[in-house]
Symmetry: D3
Subunit: 221 residues, 6 copies
């Protein structure tokens, strides 16, 4: 099944985002690296401006911030932290979260937004998903959701519809994940499971490593 994918390579849809802004939203540091790190690195290489918006740093603020910055630098993305130290997503009402995302979308005018999926088990993640859904009313952008993210694997339903070949950025992704030392190495947690996921997704399209996205809405033409 491999050859057709190669045929697409010269016309990668990512080129569409060149010189445009892509907004990637994650509830906490490491979510974006886990869910869509390989894609973000590819977007950066395609000369998109990629903004990683981290909604909150739940605790151990300085260390998590330093890790988030290191990881964003590895991926080549800008970093924004939406909620200051000492406050949690749960401390904000849904309309306040929507307000933050509305502001981001108005400010950045993104052509694509990548966010959590509706089927996450972490409440903060689904809250972020729902607020992103609401932000759709402000302007049109391609809207994608990434695989449920977690430090310790729990089975969650997720059906990818769009694939990104991350063969050339998988190592960058794993490196960015490992930058969150407090979450993985510091707890004795293995990060090779994310390479396993990417390998399985890659098998679905005939490449070595891939990430899968669900498609909320997109403009084909």
């Amino acid at each position: 099944m491999n050859q057709p994918v190669a045929a697409f390579a010269a016309r990668s849809l990512l080129s569409r985002y060149t010189s445009c802004t892509v907004l990637a939203i994650g509830a906490h540091p490491d979510d974006l690296e886990l869910g869509v790190g390989g894609t973000l690195a590819r977007l950066v290489r395609a000369d998109a401006r990629v903004v990683m918006a981290i909604v909150s740093l739940p605790g151990d603020h300085e260390r998590r911030l330093a890790e988030a910055r290191a990881a964003a630098a590895i991926l080549g993305c800008e970093l924004r932290i939406l909620i200051g130290a000492g406050r949690r997503i749960d401390d904000f009402k849904p309309y306040q979260l929507v307000g933050m995302f509305d502001e981001l979308v108005t400010d950045l005018a993104p052509v694509a937004v990548l966010t959590h999926s509706a089927t996450e088990f972490h409440r903060d993640h689904t809250a972020v998903y729902q607020a992103t859904v609401s932000a759709q009313r402000l302007r049109f952008f391609d809207f994608f959701s990434y695989h449920p993210t977690m430090c310790r694997p729990v089975q969650m339903p997720f059906q990818p519809r769009a694939y990104i070949d991350v063969t050339e950025t998988i190592d960058t992704k794993i490196k960015a994940i490992n930058a969150h030392e407090s979450q993985f190495a510091g707890r004795g947690l293995d990060t090779e499971v994310y390479r396993d996921f990417a390998r399985l997704h890659g098998r679905m399209i005939g490449v070595k490593y891939a990430e899968g996205l669900d498609v909320g809405r997109m403009l084909l033409a």
Copy 2:
């Protein structure tokens, strides 16, 4: 919400299919025109080779064939009829239908396939959908489903995920639908409902007319 859509125009994803083959599959004549006629006309204008594969001509063979040819010519597509006169989709076993589609996919090597959706109420349509799902195992192609099609409107669930601006091809679409005189004018059935559908889909993305597709799988990059 209109301006961002204009911003995408210079980088339409359809350009990806230029010089490539797109396979559009419909159970009977008029299904493709109803579901995706505006998109097919846009693909043709983007210099894709578009093959309309009609699985069967249920009855009144000569007239339906002439209408199908006229409509394909209006859209600028090649036409293939898979099952000869006097036989119906129900006369073929599922594995035989899969066999026909496998052959088409092997022969045409399409980069994208557009087919019926899983939520149609017409059994022939869901049979076509299922056989297309099976053909996915042979090679990778972008896989899209179009809105349930019918001559007389019945409410069916369908959630579009990808939109195509068909403002410049809506008239061509309606003309191609009207080429099926035996199904519409000949029965006193109005075709303006399809313009209504396209107008509503257009409102979802801020253009005058649009078609919506569900995304089975696609390669973003």
Copy 3:
């Protein structure tokens, strides 16, 4: 498909609600007009007492209130505002919202309740839906949900199961929507999209304009 619908006309199910109370619940002003305005006007003409309960006026309180009153007058309904100025639905806990609805249901003893649907993208709307679901435990009433409502169209899944012919009240509905000048004309937003929706729903049952409702529960006999 038109003739059978005419045959039903002499036995419209709405006559069931004559002299009874129907409770229609909307999160904010304009929601009921958008989702079910034509139905409310028909219920009023069938001599039902229709109470429009607006949960909150999010901001610009005086103006929104005046608009809500004007629209209710156009439709011929009573108006109740549940939450006072300066407070939002998000400021109330779910059990408080349930408490308000319990009180309404106990006070009005409605034979039917119309509310938002489960598939809305606005969190306030789904919160209203859920609180209405809870209120079902207090007494039996027919429970219907209306189409997702929004000022700027975003695709949301919704499957109508019950239709109301609003051909004779569509103009009243549009007039009631337009009474919310701050939301539509004042923002340069077109309201003809709601006539488009009603025309498409009408086509599903063979009348000129219709509204569609999802059925939570109802007593047929």
Copy 4:
């Protein structure tokens, strides 16, 4: 929760069907009695013409036919058998089944059709459901599905949306079921489980016994 249901009694929606034809479709003898026997008896008492269409008599033709006739007489309904002795539903192609139902609908011009549900485990039952869905395109009628039917209970998902109080016809229903002696008493199978089901459904609306229907589409007004 009982009193409101009584309030509806004077305005039972069943009166809508007085002097009209209601078509009830069951794959085999006993399906209609099990799924909707109490409702059919109530419709007959409300002076509707009720036609029970049994698609096939799978075997033991004479006996099953006699039982079906006896049961229809108990309920007060007309009986039609669609497929002659010695042939099964599986012996007909989907378009042939649709053709039979189209003919029935054209011939009887029903204002309501009651059929199997989409979530049955018996393939014949879902085939009957799907063919009824297709028949919707011919004319508008209220479309209801009844609870999955089976001689030996297996858990199947089903969500009733419309209830019929069958307190006064439950005994008639059980009697009609018992008329199918070959299926129940003849196999030592108890039929009291169907009274249990009706009691539980009744509890949902505050009456002694009820049947629940799913609503495909209906005209409220």
Copy 5:
């Protein structure tokens, strides 16, 4: 269908939990008795340690606590109340609820957790379900959900996947429910409906009374 169930009896899966801790979580007093009382009594008879964790006592604190204690004693379970008098589940943020459950799971090291289901209509119940889902990340345990619970019956979707024969504990269950006098006898509410439910579930597996559970995850071997 009865005999195979008897064949299983000697190897009841409950024996797996002998000498282990099973954690049963209910939003309020009576939820566990209603949803899974017969199962808890059987687990106790199989020498499991069963901890009933009641998240909150909504009001009438002393009386509800006494009833909860009486019911737990009837079932033979330990009782824990998570939230002190005067506070409700809605007064806690989702992360605080997760924190409570994390602590319970860490403290008790349960091999199985029984909790509310995702399809409840009571917001507190779904909040409890979601917090239990989150607690899965801490350690592996079998995760089951019980039937939606309510004092006044409202139809809710629920699909049991695992059955427990409660023929020998149904009377204990009803007795434990009746210990909540303030909720049932004190309001004139009948509790025989719960015997009806158990009888219907029993019919699905060929025993007199059963309870049904949905399976979130479990280790078979």
Copy 6:
């Protein structure tokens, strides 16, 4: 997350099936090995009698039969072929397939049946699933579905609910898959993807390799 799984080991649920018959049904040779080979090998080691029922050998009859025999021997299972040479599942009507499964179930009196899942893309696989669902009415048995099986990976939705630790039988499983040389090595297809799947499933429960099953129904106690 590993330790609790070890705690279960002494009380593996598989011991329940010791000296009993487990029936595993696959549409074609290799399906059972792919979907549930590690579990079958574990059941055999737990002294269950495991019957692999292969519905049909689609073509190349002698070779496929030899491969199926070799694989069954590797797993330690009995092998039954239901349909003789030269006929396909599609050549049988649904009631005939149900008849075959009814006979198997009556003959073998299995305490558990493992079959395809409802979400397969291969029509033969879903036909086998549906016929197994029907066979549930004859007697009670635990009913499990295994992961969609395919020689060339295509993304399909599947949510495991029950896990089997196959760390000690994964090599046996891969060996049994490789016995189907005509399907894998003979076509240049890699079988390591199945080890990847097992590794990911293992991560969900904290063991090295696992298989996941969906639970249709089961008796817990």
